[in-house]
C-alpha cells in the first residue's frame, strides 16, 4: 500500500484546485465550506497567486468571471445560501462562455437551514438554478481519492468546454479527516489550451459540437463580452437565426461530448436484480448496504454517479435492459428520482429512499429498503 495522508475533505479540494492550476480565488466564507477559503488565503499568496475575500457571494463569482476572462483559472467555494446568490452570475458565465469552477458544499436548506448538517437538496438548483435554457456540468465525488480527481477534472472540463463547472460535496466529507492518496504531479491530466492567435474577432464563431477556443480576452483584442444574446463577435443580436445557432452552440458543446464529460462507477451490477442509484455520501451508505446484501445472497448493485449533470442517462438505460428494479437513495425530498423516472422504461420498478432531516442514511437503512424492494 502506498503512503496515504490524512486530510480534511475541504482541504483535498483546495489542494486539488492548486494542482489543477487554479491561480485565482475569490470567495465569502460559509459553513461547511470555509476551510477551502481559509487554506487558499494562506497558500495562494505564497505562490504569488491572488486570493480575495469578497463582500458577498455575488461579488465572489463576479470576480472569478473577471479573472477567468483575463486568462486565469478561477475558483470560488460556498454552500447553499451563497450558491443561491451566485445564480445570476452563473447565468452570465454560461451565456458569455466563461470557464469557472464553483464548489457547493451542500447543507440543510432552504434558506440558511442547517449549516452543520448534510443534505443533497441542491441537485435541481445546480441544474436549473439560473434562468434560461443552459448547459451545466456538475461533478459529485464521494470518496477521498475522488475528491481530488474530480476537482482536477472540474477545472479541465471548465477549460475545455468554456463553461462553469460545479463541484458538489457533502458536509460530512467536507468536515471529515480521512486517508487520501494525493497523486504525483504529472500522473493526471491538467488541461490548459490558451491561444492568443485568433484570425479574426469572431470569437464565438465555430461549428456546432466543436469545443470553443480558450482566448485570453484581454490580450490586446477589442473583444466584446455580453450577457445579452450575441453574435459570433459577441455583440448583442436578437436575430432569430443567430440566436438559434448560439443556443445550439452552447448546448451542443456539452451534448456532443457526453463520453468525455460523464463519469460514473458501477459496483456488482452485472447480475443485479436491483440497481441502487446514488451519489455523494448516500452512495457510500449504499455501497456498504449493497455489500451487506450480497453477503445475504441478495443480488444488489450500485450505480454511483460522479457526473450528475449532464445526467448519465445512456449508462443507466443500458443497465435497465437487464435490471428491472431501481432504488434511488438521496438526502432530499425527491429530486434525482425524477430523472430516473424520465429515463427508466415502464417495466422498471422504481423505489426511493429519501430524507432531509440532517442525518445521512445508515447502511442498515439502505439494506432494509433493498430487502423490502426485492421481496
Amino acid at each position: 500500500m502506498s503512503q496515504r495522508k490524512v486530510l480534511q475533505g475541504n482541504i483535498i479540494i483546495a489542494k486539488a484546485a492548486l494542482a489543477a492550476g487554479c491561480d485565482f480565488f475569490a470567495g465569502y466564507p460559509i459553513t461547511p465550506s470555509s476551510e477551502i477559503a481559509q487554506y487558499m488565503s494562506k497558500e495562494m499568496p505564497k505562490m504569488e497567486k491572488a486570493f480575495i475575500q469578497m463582500e458577498d457571494e455575488i461579488a465572489s463569482l463576479g470576480a472569478c468571471i473577471g479573472a477567468s476572462l483575463a486568462g486565469k483559472k478561477a475558483l470560488t467555494a460556498t454552500s447553499g445560501p451563497g450558491f443561491s446568490l451566485m445564480q445570476e452570475h452563473l447565468g452570465f458565465a454560461v451565456m458569455a462562455e466563461v470557464p469557472v469552477v464553483i464548489v457547493n458544499v451542500m447543507r440543510g436548506g432552504p434558506s440558511t437551514g442547517m449549516p452543520t448538517k448534510p443534505s443533497q437538496a441542491d441537485m435541481m438548483q445546480t441544474r436549473w438554478g439560473t434562468h434560461g435554457d443552459h448547459p451545466i456540468i456538475a461533478v459529485y465525488p464521494a470518496f477521498s481519492d475522488e475528491i481530488f480527481s474530480e476537482t482536477v477534472r472540474a477545472f479541465n472540463l471548465a477549460e475545455k468546454y468554456w463553461n462553469p463547472v460545479i463541484i458538489l460535496l457533502d458536509e460530512v466529507l467536507a468536515k471529515a479527516h480521512m486517508d487520501v492518496e494525493i497523486p504525483e504531479p504529472g500522473s493526471y491530466e491538467v488541461y490548459w489550451e490558451k491561444t492568443h492567435e485568433i484570425s479574426d474577432l469572431n470569437i464565438y464563431d465555430r461549428n456546432i459540437g466543436e469545443n470553443p477556443p480558450r482566448i485570453d480576452f484581454f490580450h490586446s483584442y477589442p473583444i466584446h463580452i455580453d450577457s445579452l444574446e450575441h453574435d459570433a463577435h459577441g455583440w448583442p443580436s436578437f436575430d432569430a437565426k443567430t440566436v438559434d445557432k448560439m443556443q445550439k452552440l452552447r448546448m451542443e458543446k456539452i451534448f456532443y461530448n457526453l463520453d468525455d464529460i460523464i463519469k460514473y462507477k458501477e459496483y456488482f451490477l452485472d447480475d443485479a436484480e436491483v440497481l441502487v442509484f446514488s451519489f455523494g455520501i448516500s452512495a457510500r451508505s449504499a455501497l456498504a448496504a449493497v455489500k451487506m446484501a450480497r453477503e445475504q445472497g441478495i443480488k444488489a448493485g450500485l450505480f454511483q454517479a460522479l457526473t450528475v449533470w449532464p445526467f448519465p442517462r445512456a449508462a443507466l438505460q443500458e443497465r435497465f435492459k437487464k435490471t428491472k428494479k431501481v432504488l434511488t437513495v438521496e438526502l432530499n425530498m425527491g429530486q434525482m428520482k425524477y430523472e430516473i423516472e424520465r429515463i427508466a422504461p415502464p417495466d422498471v420498478k422504481k423505489q426511493t429512499l429519501l430524507r432531509a432531516n440532517g442525518l445521512p442514511f445508515s447502511p442498515g437503512e439502505v439494506l432494509e429498503t433493498i430487502k423490502e424492494f426485492v421481496k
Binding site: 500500500m1 503512503q3 496515504r4 495522508k5 490524512v6 449549516p115 452543520t116 470518496f143 460530512v172 466529507l173 468536515k175 471529515a176 479527516h177 480521512m178 486517508d179 455520501i281 457510500r284 451508505s285 455501497l287 456498504a288 455489500k291 445521512p360 445508515s362 447502511p363 442498515g364
Partner: protein, 178 residues
C-alpha cells in the same frame, strides 16, 4: 479484517475533534491503516453537544459514521444521552465521573467512571489538553495505535514550547484507568 469504531462525545470546545484527528493521523500516516474521523456538531461550536466518530480499518471504509461502536468516551451528560446509540453490547465506555451521572441501561458494557476533565486541569495543567488525555485513554483501552507512535506523533505535532505539557497529558491519560 481489523476494524474498530470509536466515538467521542463532548460539548464543543473540549477538544474531541482534535483527539479524533490525531488518532486518524497516527493510524494512517504511521501505521498504514485506512481511517476516517467525522465530526457532528451544532451551530453552537462552543458548548453544544458534539460527537466525533473514528473508524480505523485495514480495508477502505465505505460509510464514515460509526455503526457498531467498540469504544465510547464521553465527557458530558447531554452528548452521552444523545450519542450512546449504536454501541456494541460489549463496548468499552469511559465517562467523566463528575459530568456524566445518569448512565441508564449499560447492557454488557465495561464502564469506567474517571474524572477526565478534572485530572486534565489538575494533572496536566490546562483543560485544553483534554484532547491528548482522551487520545492516551483511547490508546490504553483499545490498543488501536501503538503507544510509541502516539508519543512520537504528539512530540512532532505539539506547538513549540508545549511538548512537555503534552507529554504530561499523555501520562495523565495513561494513569486514569489502572
Amino acid at each position: 479484517m481489523m476494524k474498530i469504531e470509536i466515538r467521542y462525545g463532548a460539548v464543543g470546545g473540549q477538544g474531541i475533534i482534535t483527539a479524533g484527528a490525531l488518532l486518524v493521523d497516527i493510524a494512517v500516516e504511521m501505521e498504514n491503516k485506512f481511517a476516517i474521523e467525522s465530526p457532528t456538531y451544532t451551530a453552537a461550536v462552543r458548548g453544544g453537544p458534539t460527537k466525533v466518530d473514528v473508524i480505523i480499518s485495514d480495508e477502505p471504509i465505505d460509510f464514515p459514521h460509526a455503526q457498531a461502536i467498540d469504544f465510547f468516551l464521553c465527557t458530558d451528560q447531554k452528548p452521552y444521552d444523545i450519542y450512546k446509540e449504536r454501541l456494541k453490547d460489549d463496548a468499552i465506555v469511559v465517562v467523566d465521573s463528575h459530568l456524566v451521572r445518569e448512565l441508564g441501561d449499560t447492557r454488557n458494557w465495561k464502564v469506567y467512571h474517571v474524572p477526565i476533565i478534572n485530572e486534565t486541569k489538575v494533572g496536566a495543567g490546562n483543560v485544553v489538553l483534554t484532547s491528548v488525555v482522551s487520545l492516551a485513554l483511547t490508546q490504553k483501552m483499545t490498543n488501536v495505535i501503538s503507544y510509541d507512535n502516539m508519543v512520537a506523533h504528539i512530540k512532532h505535532w505539539a506547538p513549540k514550547g508545549s511538548v512537555e505539557m503534552n507529554m504530561k497529558a499523555i501520562e495523565v491519560g495513561m494513569n486514569l484507568i489502572k
